[in-house]
């Protein structure tokens, strides 16, 4: 990268970061000041600024990012927490629906309520099933990679 390129990239980076900051300010103005007209501009600036920052970092020379290494080292724990957090509220909602199903059926439209209970049960099963599969997959992906090279595999097959 030439000096000029580096300078230009630096400027783009500052502009992108500024867009994000300005966007956040507009969102605060919109929600706290009740000026909802500016919300879309805030959202737009945040998106564009985010894209700009991402693209500039992505096109840059690879370099070691300590925080990413930190994330990678804890990816199993983070993955499991994320899986749990994303599933917990729906599990609570559908479990609650099943608990109150008898009461709901007693309030008239019992057929519909029963159907609702059935759908909730299916969704609950899907959510829990996916949680279990995802946790297993995350744990499996964290195992050390398969030792050996394709050359050895070729010889085995021969």
């Amino acid at each position: 990268m030439t000096k000029d390129d580096a300078m230009l990239t630096g400027r783009y980076r500052i502009a992108s970061a500024a867009a994000v900051v300005l966007g956040i300010a507009l969102i605060l103005l919109s929600e706290l000041g009740g000026v909802h007209e500016v919300r879309v501009f805030g959202a737009g600036l945040i998106s564009l600024g985010g894209i700009g920052l991402g693209v500039l970092a992505g096109l840059d020379q690879p370099r070691r990012a300590e925080w990413l290494a930190w994330v990678r080292d804890r990816r199993v724990a983070l993955g499991m927490i994320a899986a749990l957090v994303s599933v917990a509220p729906v599990v609570v909602a559908f479990a609650a629906a099943l608990v109150v199903l008898p009461a709901a059926m007693g309030e008239g439209r019992s057929g519909m309520a029963l159907l609702g209970g059935l759908i909730a049960l299916l969704m609950l099963m899907a959510s829990v099933g996916c949680f279990v599969l995802a946790v297993r997959a995350i744990r499996r992906a964290a195992r050390p990679v398969t030792p050996g090279s394709p050359a050895e595999a070729g010889e085995e097959a021969a």
Binding site: I24, V40, I46, G50, G58, A104, A141, P147
Partner: protein, 718 residues
């Protein structure tokens, strides 16, 4: 009352503040991951793939958005499943954008609301349907991976995490909607036909509980969306972007033409020994793989238990590129790989043999079945041949058996150890002489067509019979033709596919020079490899001719009544099955002419093999494999012969000398010499032809020769 709903119901100002400010995070991650990939592709060699942009764009939309190659008759379950996920996801995304337009643009800025009335009701129904499609499609995908798993499908952690994400996102959407309706007692609830019954059930809960659970689900729903979007660029989920880009920038040249090494005399790099040696479009190619495994379905090496699996070659390259390009943090340590990287090679290892093994490279028959199946137009053969070129030209590494092929090609102009002056020896078996171009030119005459005999047709004793049969047909039809005789040389096809591009170019140039000396306009050949090279590769070096395969010419002669067939001929009876040669069918799209020629003999009953036309199963002889030992897995030619025998036919019709050699060998291998035979289309037609003197030709061709002596298999070059 006008149907509508309150957007951001039950959400305080904190909700939109967090929603919009945190939005920067997924955008940064997505843009970073995509830009990283673009950076990696740009390290490849230049190649112009920016021509015909309109055609490219339309094709990309057709093949990816409209699922042109994804939903196929043979892959209906997988294709429809993918379509359901795609339509569900995209519709829900558009639905979210519509709500944002209402809430953030039209209402606050223009004071106009469109999210109401009939539009709102239809919107609700469509979104519920989309949610069902997303969840149903994703669950079907999990079912396919865990319960009904095809042998070609391999499940990584990444696949499961993505599907789990999609299911949970869909379920969360329904939960949020049902919880809101349970409190608001929405009179238009039934339009949300999935959430509505759940809302009725949930309405038995106290309102404060419903509100609390709703808020929790709302926040977690948008956070899950953000985490998912952040994950997209580092997982298989990148494929909607890369697949679209790959189809957009796909190669538009004939699929049968390999790109030459330009200016080979001056070149410093031969083939691909490093990632940077591939073109940028090839690097994009390997990044576009969506792990569907369709390229394995008809791959002869996968089916016969060899190490080469085209999908894995692509994924090995993609994983290696991710490591090298620092797709995660820049400098990943050894073994810190993406989910797709199978071998744990790490960025510092050599492309060959650490990432892709020579065994994988040498097993490929270049049959093209992988490319014909790949829904996103990944081109495996050029990748493999590129790496072969590196092995041959830079490392001097190739299977031992190939040494003599190279030597013979260099010295004698054919893979076999026969002198050029024996090329026309077969003509002695004909009653009428076959002129050579040199004589014709010396007489100042011209011929209608040049018969390009090919090396196997000239020197291999079994294939000489096909050559003789074709010459008889041409003579019977009164076609004025000639051969090149000792001036003919190899087209360079085997050398090129083996990776000896230098030798291939030498052979091709020599052939083009000869053809151009005689001002040849039209060429017929019985060899699909020669056909493909002359038709698709010779134009690269100034050789432009009308090229016709013998099955096409024969079919035409029958249709025009220029040859007459005897329906009672000994050869024209019973059940026959036809094998589509890869270089005629898949590479050049000719499936009908040979079948029509066979259909002209009413006594023959054509029975199709399970794998036919563009799913035809290779004979095992292409890509130079004819000249190599098959040491890994089971034998490809025997697998195909068994498939042919399973049709109940007694005769296998071939249209390629490579296939002929492989099948003769295969028939011996399975011990079916007594009950099953292989004949070329030309032999069947010539053997059923009523010759000018009125005699049936069957005895002269297949009937006598094949039924009598045991067929000779092709000799390997000395």
């Amino acid at each position: 009352m006008i149907p509508t709903r309150e957007i951001l119901w039950n959400i305080t100002a904190l909700g939109p503040i967090l929603l919009y400010t945190l939005m920067a995070i997924p955008f940064v991650f997505l843009a970073y991951g995509l830009a990283r990939r673009v950076r990696m592709w740009r390290q490849g060699q230049p190649e112009n793939r920016f021509d015909q942009l309109g055609r490219r764009l339309w094709h990309a939309i057709l093949m990816t958005v409209l699922h042109g190659r994804i939903v196929r008759r043979r892959n209906r379950f997988g294709g429809l499943m993918h379509l359901a996920i795609f339509v569900g996801f995209v519709t829900l995304f558009i639905g979210t954008v519509i709500v944002m337009i209402e809430a953030d643009i039209t209402v606050p800025i223009f004071g106009v609301s469109f999210y109401r009335g009939d539009f709102y009701l239809v919107y609700k129904a469509v979104m519920n349907l989309a949610g069902l499609l997303l969840i149903g499609g994703s669950l079907a995908a999990l079912y396919r991976r865990y319960v009904r798993r095809p042998a070609t499908l391999e499940t990584t952690g990444d696949d499961v995490v993505i599907l789990a994400f999609l299911v949970v996102l869909g379920v969360q959407g329904f939960a949020v909607q049902a919880l809101r309706m349970a409190v608001t007692d929405d009179p238009w609830g039934p339009w949300s036909f999935v959430s509505y019954p759940m809302a009725l059930t949930l309405s038995a809960l106290p309102e404060s509980w419903l509100r609390a659970i709703h808020v929790a689900n709302w926040y977690i729903h948008f956070l899950t969306n953000f985490v998912f979007l952040s994950y997209v660029a580092y997982s298989k989920m990148i494929h909607p972007f890369t697949s679209f880009a790959n189809v957009l920038f796909r190669r538009l040249k004939p699929v049968g033409a390999l790109d030459p090494i330009e200016n080979i005399e001056e070149a410093e790099v031969f083939g691909a020994g490093k990632l940077e040696d591939f073109t940028w479009a090839q690097l994009l190619n390997v990044d576009a793989c969506m792990h569907c495994g369709r390229c394995l379905e008809y791959c002869p090496t996968f089916s016969t238990g060899k190490p080469l699996r085209p999908r894995d070659v692509v994924l090995e390259l993609a994983g290696y590129m991710a490591d090298r390009g620092g797709i995660f943090s820049g400098e990943l340590g050894q073994g810190e790989n993406s989910a797709r990287y199978r071998w744990g090679a790490g960025p510092d290892r050599a492309l060959i043999p650490d990432v892709v093994s020579p065994a994988e490279l040498w097993d490929c028959t270049t049959c093209g079945a992988c490319m014909a199946q790949c829904p996103v137009y990944i081109e495996h053969v050029p990748l493999i041949v590129g790496m072969r070129r590196h092995l041959v030209l830079e490392q001097g590494e190739f299977p031992e058996e190939v040494t003599s092929v190279f030597t013979n090609l260099e010295r004698l102009g054919s893979p076999y150890q026969f002198p050029p002056n024996q090329r026309a020896a077969w003509t002695k078996r004909l009653d009428q002489p076959v002129p050579e171009m040199a004589e014709v030119a010396a007489r100042g005459e011209e011929v209608e067509i040049l018969f390009w005999v090919g090396c196997l047709g000239s020197f291999d004793s079994r294939n000489q019979r096909t050559t003789v049969a074709l010459a008889r047909i041409l003579q019977a039809a009164g076609i004025k033709f000639a051969i090149l005789g000792k001036e003919e040389s190899c087209t360079g096809d085997p050398a090129r596919r083996i990776g000896n591009e230098y030798l291939a170019q030498m052979m091709a140039m020599q052939a083009v020079e000869t053809l151009n000396t005689y001002n040849v306009k039209k060429v017929v050949t019985a060899c699909p490899h020669c056909f493909n090279a002359i038709k698709n590769e010779f134009p690269q070096i100034g050789g432009n001719y009308e090229v016709i395969h013998h099955s096409q010419l024969i079919n035409q002669l029958i249709a025009e009544g220029r040859i007459t067939l005897d329906p009672n001929s000994a050869l024209a009876r019973g059940a026959v099955t036809y094998h589509d040669p890869c270089y005629l069918g898949r590479y050049n799209g000719e499936y009908d002419a040979p079948r029509e020629a066979l259909a002209a003999l009413p006594g023959l009953e054509l029975r199709e093999m399970r794998r036919n036309r563009n799913t035809s199963f290779c004979c095992g002889g292409g890509g130079g494999r004819l000249f190599m030992e098959e040491t890994r897995g089971t034998r490809i030619n025997q697998a195909r012969v068994r498939e042919a025998i399973d049709t109940g036919a007694e005769l296998l019709a071939a249209a390629c000398p490579f296939c002929m050699t492989m099948f003769e060998d295969g028939i011996h291998g399975v011990g079916a010499e007594e009950s099953f035979k292989v004949l070329d289309i030309a032999e069947i037609v010539a053997g059923s032809m009523i010759t000018p003197n009125g005699a049936d030709g069957a005895k002269e061709h297949g009937a006598a020769e094949s039924e009598g002596a045991a067929p000779e298999s092709a000799e390997r070059p000395e």
